[in-house]
Amino acid sequence: MSVTQDSHDSQDSTDKPAVAGAVETSTKLASHLHPAGSFDLADHPVPNGREEVWRFTPLKRLRGLHDGTFTEGGKGSVEIDAPGEVTVERVGRDDPRLGTVYTPNDRVSAQAWQSFEQARVISVPAEAELERPILVNVTGEGTGPDATFHHLLVDVGAHARATVVVRHQGHAVRAGNTEIRVGDGANLTFVSVQDWDDDAVHLAHLHAEVGRDASYRQALVSIGGDLVRISSSVEYAGPGGEAELLGLYFADAGQHLEHRLFVDHNAPKTRSNVDYKGALQGQGAHSVWIGDVLIRQVAEGIETYESNRNLVLTDGCQADSVPNLEIETGEIEGAGHASTTGRFDDQQLFYLQSRGIDADEARRLVVHGFFADIIRRIGVTEIRDELMRTVEGELERSVGTPLASGGAR
């Protein structure tokens, strides 16, 4: 475990326009962990690719989302299917609820904030116990480079229980922000599946504020798209909250799939558990996982663990995995992280084949096994089979491109 410790001149950075500062002070290793953010695009300089938060992302493939050269007019639809007690609204930019949970903290996020036309607001009343998930189907209907911007607010009242499943499909160049408020004692499972067409570009920020004693489970599943970059951050509105951030990705040849997690333990007795698993196959498949956890001085008695495991199925892939734990108090229950990247295990392949199972089936079993626990833990029965099928569909593509050393003759 590598623990990064850093002293901060200010604990209360929330009302400072710290974005520019955060980028400039990247020599201070952890200072990018908690920039205050700004709604003003001008506060976010156009990235050049050397910034800590952009250094893994191929800016050239962002279709100008980061430097204002994008073209507007992308087409797409958003369908929301929710149980009766849930309120689903389409609201204007001036709705006072927007921007109360999250302030954009990078250039593309600020661009999306500035550019979206209407926002969706999904409200689950206090104490409601939803019997079925709220389904949000986002379909990109574009064909070219034109961009769409979106904003979503999910507001779950105190002691309510809800599940939201967002599915992204089709072609899009899309940037957006999702604000999630989990009320005190509430329980929210939020799943987002990125199953875009091959040429889609999707940059998204999700920020959750987890109430006192609330429970938030998030699962990000990224499968399709040319470039997907999702930043997911969590903070706590009171003590006792817990966040479980799960992820699954499967990068094919040429795909860039990036997940950036940030858990801000800003309240005592809070818990977080980050667990991401990814598989990579094919020339130029690239995954990026950044796991930042900040334990502030007030956050006594917290517990956190983060893990990222990558399974490299073929040559020519790159899995970047950077866990980072910044601890400002020693009074914690536990903190740790693990990051592993392993090649497909020839011994496992041999063992299964020696029982008559052919190589493709054996690979399928092993990858299945690799992802099985994370899919089980996502815990949404409605999408479990679908996810398994999706993983299998990805594996079908890998047939014929085994590891150089994987031939078993």
């Binding site: 063992y351 008559g356 190589a359």
Partner: protein, 255 residues
């Protein structure tokens, strides 16, 4: 009548991960295993016993540089690992491999389906697996656990025997299936091998260090394996002599 024939087998192990040339391990092995026979191979550590077993099974680390292996006349060496298994070969491994996330029951069903070319009959399948497990005193709760993951050494070996029973090959190669077992487990495992042998048309190649297991599984032939080849052959009495005298005589002669 099945027959596994190994002729003048030379094998090198791939050492490219250490930047070395392939290292020759087997230096001309001749062995014929006919249905109904049990052959024991005994030899000191590092003499190449596992290499022989892996080479027959087709492990990619081992390169056959000369010789032939045939099963009922079919060229085994040109088959992939899974084809060899489907042709009727089975290797109980010295160190069975853990496969996280793949349950024992899923693994067994997938393997059985592959070997038979069709899924096992639902009606009897679960019972068959449970019976095989109970016979080697393995709790049927193991069905839901990941393959070999967190199994004790003895549990891994019993699981190999469960597979032997369920997959029911023509020729079984058992690589030190006896090592690491206490006496009760040893009897249980030997019982599984004997049930397999009692069927018609089955051959066994039993690799072991110790004569202990040969009290429970009576071999028809004993081969002394030294320096990558068979140094002497005989009947069961050869095992007793090895127990008394050790391998020193052969090792000295080979070097």
């Amino acid at each position: 009548m099945s027959i596994l024939e190994i002729r003048d087998l030379h094998v090198s192990v791939d050492a490219s991960d250490r930047g070395d040339e392939p290292i020759p391990i087997l230096n001309g092995v001749d062995l014929t295993i006919k249905a109904g026979q049990t052959h024991a191979i005994m030899g000191p550590n590092g003499s190449g016993k596992s290499t022989l077993a892996y080479s027959i099974a087709g492990h990619p680390k081992y390169q056959v540089t000369a010789g032939t292996v045939t099963l009922d006349g079919a060229d085994v060496l040109s088959m992939s690992v899974d084809e060899r298994a489907r042709a009727g070969l089975f290797l109980a491994m010295q160190y069975p491999v853990e496969v996280p996330g793949v349950s024992v029951s899923n693994f067994l069903r997938t393997a059985k389906t592959a070997i038979d070319g069709q899924p096992p009959k639902l009606r009897t399948w679960v019972k068959d697996v449970n019976t095989a497990m109970e016979r080697v005193k393995m709790d049927t709760a193991f069905s839901t656990r990941s393959v070999n993951e967190g199994f004790s050494g003895g549990e891994k070996k019993r699981h190999e025997i469960v597979q032997l029973e369920v997959l029911n090959p023509k020729v079984a190669i058992l690589d030190e299936t006896d090592s690491g077992l206490d006496i009760d487990a040893l009897k249980v495992v030997a019982g599984g091998v004997n049930r397999f042998r009692e069927q018609e048309d089955r051959g066994v190649l039993l690799i072991t260090h110790y004569t202990r297991i040969l009290r429970y599984i009576k071999p028809d032939f004993v081969h002394v394996f030294v320096g990558g080849r068979i140094a002497e052959e005989g009947g069961p009495e050869l095992a007793d002599r090895l127990e008394a005298e050790g391998y020193d005589r052969y090792v000295a002669a080979a070097s």
